[in-house]
Symmetry: C2
Subunit: 199 residues, 2 copies
């Protein structure tokens, strides 16, 4: 289509690679940027460029951070005897938002997924075991996603930790707040029943 200028075409293609962005959304975003003030567009381009240049992976917990070790790993007020294992940096944010967890984290950078060819070796599991051997940790909270990959990853890690004699826990399963019992899937409901507690 000769009607589309090359730089516009190129941006549509680049944006289409983002997750959840199809060609239609990509062209909508592109034409939105074309109508936006130049400063806003340059500012977005700069922010994208800097997000990789100015951040590092924490050498201890592998979270994305300004510095290494990250602000959580180097915070003396956090409980170093608890390590919460998550798949992605976004999971750390979700847990921090609860304000209920005060221990440290360990970001795996993914989950075991034979379909995608991701085995335990691709994840930061060896680094986790090294941390557990070299520091005094009393509890490892497995907070991988409650899906097939997350479960498999949690099982694998639990097995690896068991010889070290450290307590391993998993986030509770049950009905989410605001859910409708009527529409809950059978597995979730079964887990909510199994995990029922005294009132």
């Amino acid at each position: 289509m000769s009607a589309i200028p090359k730089p516009v075409m190129r941006l549509i293609e680049e944006l289409s690679r983002l997750p959840g962005v199809g060609p239609k959304t990509a062209s909508r975003l592109t034409y939105f940027l074309l109508r936006s003030p130049a400063e806003q567009v340059v500012s977005l381009a700069e922010a994208i460029r800097q997000v990789k240049e100015r951040t590092v992976r924490c050498s201890i917990c592998f979270n994305i951070a300004d510095t290494s070790p990250c602000s959580i790993c180097s915070d003396p007020n956090r409980d170093p005897t608890q390590i919460c294992v998550v798949e992605e940096p976004l999971d750390v944010l979700a847990l921090e938002r609860t304000r209920q967890y005060h221990g440290l984290y360990h970001v795996l950078e993914g989950a075991i997924s034979p379909v995608e060819g991701i085995g335990p070796g691709e994840l930061r599991i060896r680094e986790l075991l090294d941390r557990l051997r070299n520091t005094t940790v009393h509890e490892v909270v497995l907070a991988t996603n409650p899906n097939l990959e997350g479960e498999a990853t949690a099982m694998y890690i639990a097995q690896q930790i068991s010889p070290l004699g450290i307590r391993v826990t998993r986030l509770a399963r049950g009905l989410p707040v605001g859910a409708d019992l009527e529409y809950a899937d059978a597995v979730t409901l079964a887990q909510a029943l199994e995990g029922r507690r005294e009132v």
Copy 2:
């Protein structure tokens, strides 16, 4: 939240300004970029920066283009006696995709919307009338959106053109292909009835 590095925070904020991108989508996209290869991220940043730097508004039809006049306005194979009036550059693409229209275009850069404070003066209507006065045009096809603003804009332009004695047409209204009669809204169905044709 101290857990988020500043460059990450900034990108999430910048992305949240895009239409249809909320804070959740913005953080998903940000962490996707953090996991992507550096070249891909730099390439996206470059594409965003260049999309404004390397494109111009065509001085005749106001479409986004590599050059001014644009490739459509300067194409000797296009019919210069037809001008199709659209709201946005994306509408030009949609019409080009049909391969049924071979005339020229005129991009208004919006639609009349009292709610958003956009009057006829904010649009490229004066420039359209100048084009109609200075060139031989036999038909103006009004292809603004079939909503309140688009209709108001079409009506206003039709009024302005009427003294010039040029034929003014509007895109047909009716049932879209693949639609279900049962679920069609009353207005669309009424227009489909009104515009019915001999088989």
